[in-house]
């Protein structure tokens, strides 16, 4: 199942080794490899839980399996992506169907 990141994100660094890191700390040395690395927008994530990234507004589906499991329309995806963007900037959020200023938003098409 594949999804494509819409913004830069921290992702697990495959070169990181927790045991080596623990050893370095015990020896008082600096472990040179970061646990995470930056993945730019457009990075393809191939993972059984990739659909969750779509529902979080972090990615868009890259295959039908992911699109179906996420179950969002294009318009809903735009909204969750915008909401995630606002959250990442600390601005607040609104999500489809949720009341805003006492008024219920129209259901997404």
């Amino acid at each position: 199942m594949k999804a494509k990141l819409v913004r830069e994100h921290d992702v697990l660094n495959p070169d990181y080794n927790r045991d080596h890191h623990t050893l370095c700390v015990a020896r008082g040395e600096r472990y040179p490899i970061s646990m995470t690395k930056k993945a730019p927008a457009g990075t393809i994530i191939d993972h059984p839980e990739a659909w969750r990234l779509v529902t979080l507004g972090a990615a868009v589906p890259e295959d039908d399996e992911c699109r179906q499991r996420a179950g969002l329309t294009e318009k809903q995806m735009e909204k969750v992506i915008a909401a995630a963007e606002r959250l990442s900037l600390g601005i607040g959020y609104d999500i489809p169907g949720q009341k805003k200023n006492g008024k219920k938003e129209p259901a997404p098409a």
Partner: protein, 139 residues
């Protein structure tokens, strides 16, 4: 010596190898590891103090957080899904300065709370599966 504001601190959970923030975080406490020690007095010792020694083990500890809970918010739904399908997850406490504090942990509980005059909240608790790696200054 300096004082750092906690504003901007985030709790991140790894989903499908990507770290995403848990939204609407109010507080984040821990992890609190504990070095194990044992009492080692002997019958033939001179003084009367109860001596302690380290055993070499460290309990990785727990980490707790509180959020303004929104049952419709996807990041919060990810947390509740971990109660139905428990799993060891990678987490990060990102403080305003330094590299993140990283650890693996099991989400043990997520308790919603509603009260008169209060917003909907939830408090969560995690059990670490190993020692956290602590923030370092950038090179």
């Amino acid at each position: 010596m300096s004082k750092r504001s906690s504003k901007g601190t985030t709790l991140k959970i790894e989903i499908a190898s990507v770290y995403t923030s848990v939204a609407q975080l109010i507080s984040l406490n821990g992890p609190g590891p504990e070095v194990q020690d044992t009492e080692t007095p002997t019958l033939d010792q001179v003084g009367n103090e109860i001596a302690h020694d380290v055993t070499g083990w460290v309990e990785p500890g727990t980490s707790d957080f509180e959020i303004y809970w929104d049952p419709l918010l996807t990041t919060h739904q990810t947390l509740t899904s971990l109660l139905g399908a428990p799993a060891v997850k990678n987490w990060q406490n990102q403080y305003p300065v330094g590299t993140p504090m990283s650890y693996s942990a099991i989400l043990k509980s997520l308790t919603p709370a509603a009260g008169v005059g209060e917003m909907l909240k939830a408090s969560g608790s995690m059990q670490l599966t190993g020692l956290a790696t602590y923030p370092e200054a950038p090179e």
